[in-house]
Amino acid sequence: MSIVLEARDLVKQFGGITATDHVNFTLEKGARHALIGPNGAGKTTFVNLLTGVLQPTAGSVVLNGEDISHLSREARVKRGMARTFQINQLFASMTPLEMIALVTSERLGYGTRPFNALDHDPLVLDGTADIIARFRLDDIMDAPIASLPYGKQRQVEIASTFAAHPNVLLLDEPAAGVPEAERRELLDIVAALPPDVSVVLIEHDMDIVFRFATRITVLVNGRVLAEGDPATIARDPRVKEAYLGEEASHA
């Protein structure tokens, strides 16, 4: 299996606090790689380092063989890395259709064309219709995003990241905040993601992790505590301790 994404000795310090502590991480092509760990383990910081929201103190990020540590967020998207956020980040004034058309036109490099019409370009239309169909958004595509229920907004966010045609997708707690009733539909969408896209899944919910993951990395206090296939991780006493320890301290 080839490696699509790699973090090499990644370090992030905020003042005296080391949020990411020499993390080495490899994502194999087509993997469903879960990143788990107790609250404050540095999972979101790690994803922010991968996607360029934060700059690392030391170490590097390699995407498809290219060192992207110093590239901007948008340049990483252009190279095939897309993400969702822990809390929905959407375009409130747009409809799902417009948001997906936007990402599609940016993927095609049309964003600098001030006099094109979106509805005139067959590539924009095809790309947009394809995403709408695949994520079954046709019944809500003209509703303002701000008016949609949270679970639907979540779907729109995942669908719009897909419009960028990523080969690496980072999902930051995709089920967080989604009511039980809408959860199933969302998880079906995650399950149906095409196999050639490599996925990093940050998740608290162990049911979801063990349903999807082909590989698991456990982060504790910014360090990699363990990494392996789901069965190995489930048996690992250190992982149990990290989680039980956290629960004990909460009690």
Binding site: E74, L97, Y110, A117
Partner: protein, 333 residues
Amino acid sequence: MTTLHDRVRSSLYGARRWHPVEFIFWALALASFWLFPRHLLLMNEIAILALFALSLDLILGYAGIVSLGHAAFLGLGAYAAGLLAKHGIGDPLIGLLFAMIVSAVAGLLASPLVVKGNDLTRLMVTLGVALILHEVANSWASLTGGADGLQGITITPVLGLFQFDLFGKTAYLYSLSVVFVLFLVARRLVHSPFGLSLRAIRDNVLRASASGVPPSRRLAAIYTIAAAYAGAAGALMAQTTQFVSLDVLDFHRSADVMLVLIIGGPGYLYGGMIGAVVFKFLQDTIAAFTPQYWMFWIGLFLVLFVLKGRSLVHGGIASLLKHFPGLRMRKTP
């Protein structure tokens, strides 16, 4: 049977389709020439203010850049067109183009100061740039005429045919034509992929960059374009009055245009135009019976409007227009 592909197309087309009300709007603007022949000078001022507000709408309404110094580009355009005419090139269209280029270059140079940073830094930076330009124009009297203003501007007839007159006939039609053409360009622009990416940045810069949009470059581009538009408004002002005073760079110009846009509503291109009509009408009416207290009344109006009336007026317009088929009003939420 309609396929999803067709529905996607017609939805995207619907967002940029001309609404009947728009035709009526422009027909009325043209008809005003014959309807109010004694108010052509005022209407010329309205058209210029509308263009200036359209320029602010491009950055504020569509890209979310707040500015308290937009007069900088208005003033630059006015002085550029005025100086060109004073030094022998009196053709209005060449002057207009020259003013737009000068202001665009200034906008491009100033853009690094505004594309990064939050609303507060943008307000301060734009305000600061305008203050600096005002003082430069004041001090550099050998070029600008300083506090006495730039005199001796002679403008040749438009296209060599239409001489500017005392009643503002040529002035109004010339200004209205320029406003209309620049409006068409702006309309095309905001409905393009580029325009959509500006709305993305305005709505959520984090998601915009995570969608592949480079925010700084796009904002710099629209800031430059908007500066050119403001420069065009300045040129119209200089050419139709054949005079440029320091007043074009004054703070109240920047404040007024913000007021105009807020009255009309940002983010749908017509806000600045409607606002300009309302603002000038109020100014004219109130100033007619209490010239000294005009600022008091406009201030009071502003406070009440922003606190209560805005949702009332804009909500009213929106619900009224809902009865017309096919309307898609797009505004900042």
